[in-house]
Symmetry: C2
Subunit: 361 residues, 2 copies
């Protein structure tokens, strides 16, 4: 039995307690200053305000000011904050952590370390605390399904695989399957970009819904018994979605290679697989669908008020970095036509047509 300390009690941070406790470990769950109500709720009745299933009992529950106490004796730290909290974590939490305890990060994203230079979060953290060992998690895993113990396959990465191997030993179960890789940038880039590209794929869903609304009542020639079971709208528009899905994988692979990763992960479980599950998950799909229907980003923001959109942040960060590289090092932005299209929609270019002729290898 080891002590695992999870910092950040949002959806994914909290869900990580499930495989840890199932493996017989003690878990200390620490809320960030934004998580006070979550820790309170868990203390009162064991219910997480947003995670729709029961969490393990007998966890240590700590508010942020109790961090030192929660860390005492920990053998593994899990950073459970979202990408919007990562700078806060780097500034306020990292300096307080013990040297000898490895940290594994569930946060998904990329940051622009300096103009044109994209950095994964493990690289970011290592630059601040070179004395510590960092790993990160990527792959198709929704928090509620992990908490419900559904079969799940993820990757743990670290530059020295021993860190990821150590975390795997502590966390793998008969439903939480873990592959270890040293391709940190391949994994972290795929994982960050699938959020962005889930918006891209969802554009086709919006286009299709709009077309359905416009043709409602018209005879389409599609016979009822030929509708695809499982089609979200009962109609047959999968070619455009599939094209955007494939193009997303192509661009993720190009970006991974540009940043020095090997590219295979982008077209495998952490890229293509995670994109698949993200297209079917809530927020980003909704964002892309509304933009695909022709709403302006300003209108979409009003509709989705209060929703944090990691996809928007990653599209803006990565396209800014690529533009910088294009201006400075001659990078050809035509390698990323879907990303550039998404950036343009977020800049307010409503109703712009997809650059179909630029797609493909």
């Amino acid at each position: 039995m080891s002590l695992v300390c999870i910092i950040g009690s949002g959806l994914m941070g909290s869900a990580m307690s499930v495989p840890a406790v199932d493996n017989g470990h003690q878990v200390n769950l620490v809320g960030t200053p934004l998580d006070r109500h979550i820790i309170e709720s868990l203390r009162q009745n064991g219910v997480h305000p947003t995670l729709p299933c029961k969490l393990p009992e007998n966890m240590g529950l700590f508010q942020f000011e109790q961090l030192e106490q929660a860390l005492s004796g920990a053998e593994l730290i899990i950073c459970g904050v979202s990408s919007f909290g990562v700078d806060w974590f780097a500034r306020e939490v990292l300096p307080q952590l013990p040297s000898a305890v490895p940290l594994i990060n569930v946060t998904k994203g990329l940051r622009e370390a300096e103009p044109g230079v994209l950095q994964s979060f493990p690289q970011y953290f290592s630059a601040i605390r070179p004395d510590m060992a960092f790993a990160a998690i990527g792959g198709p895993c929704t928090s509620y399904e992990l908490a419900e113990r559904r079969q799940t396959l993820v990757y743990f990465c670290s530059e020295k695989t021993s860190t990821a191997e150590f975390a795997r030993k502590l966390l793998q179960t008969n439903y939480y399957h873990i592959v270890v890789t040293d391709d940190v940038i391949g994994l972290e880039c795929s994982v960050a970009m699938k959020n962005a590209y889930a918006m891209g794929v969802s554009l086709a869903i919006g286009m299709s819904e709009k077309e359905n609304e416009e043709s409602a009542g018209k005879k389409t020639g599609v016979r009822q018994n030929q509708l695809i079971s499982g089609a979200h709208d009962g109609r047959l528009h999968y070619n455009p979605q599939a094209a955007l899905f494939g193009q997303s994988c192509v661009e993720m692979r190009r970006l991974v290679r540009l940043l020095g990763g090997n590219g295979d992960l982008a077209g495998g479980i952490p890229g293509a697989g995670d994109l698949y599950v993200t297209v079917f998950g809530g927020r980003t799909r909704r964002l892309g669908t509304l933009l695909g229907k022709g709403l302006s980003y300003a209108e979409v923001k009003k509709k989705l008020a209060g929703v944090t959109l990691e996809a928007v942040a990653v599209i803006e960060t990565v396209s800014a970095a690529l533009r910088h590289r294009a201006a400075k090092n001659g990078l050809d932005l035509h390698q990323f036509p879907l990303l550039m299209h998404m950036e343009s929609l977020l800049k307010g270019n409503t109703g712009k047509k997809l650059p179909w002729k630029q797609f493909g290898e």
Copy 2:
């Protein structure tokens, strides 16, 4: 204007008439001996018995015995037969075709040319008619959506790209987008295998449906407002599907590389993208779902009586070839755990658990 002769008037063969006619070409559509009723129906009232939308008027409609007449003056031949008709096509049709006219193939599949040696259909045809030029089509394209002129992105391949380029010039439209590649085995292997792996991904759908049925009425802790819009069953089981989707891409890439292709297409538009659309399309999804629910293959065959299952044929062919290579050349079959699992289900091993621990890079 050119004359395009399509041989095989099934779903995809017939749908190819749409971009051809939209480009101003004359199309001669020739039924196989199994297509007599289709040609009759089109002659009588312009309605295709299975394709749920109108085909272009003014096509030449020919029964198979009129092949010579239909070919007269053709500048491009499209082979529109399914993989079950490909040996017939090679035997009965290929010898009758003129040397100088290139042929592009919509048929998806791989064949075992000799024990352990997998061959694409363009390679098969070239071996019989080395005087002719062959190309092939792959990528996410359902026939009905092509016939409805939905945005579609496909790849044309040929060993000398000039053949595929020629076909592209004749067939590309503002909705039918074509990328040319010389990676024939990369494209054809991806395209064949996505049919197989669509069954693999669908196993998770069946597992999930079974679990839903078993837990119907039980309190699951999932709140109504947290259901994913678009989830086929209204519940949240995407982690296992996404894992199998990613694993499928990994195995497709390994197979492409084993056969000498470059592997990128497997994780891009023709592999991952086409798998995406195939998982949502009828027959193969149904096959995998029923097997995933725990039915034996014998029971599934009864339920799906009369349905042609290209997925079964490709799983059997490819796993036989890989087994031969394993026995003869020491190929490690653990590189293809999902394929081997699917083969085992088709051999009657009902209820076998997925080999999760073997998945991943």
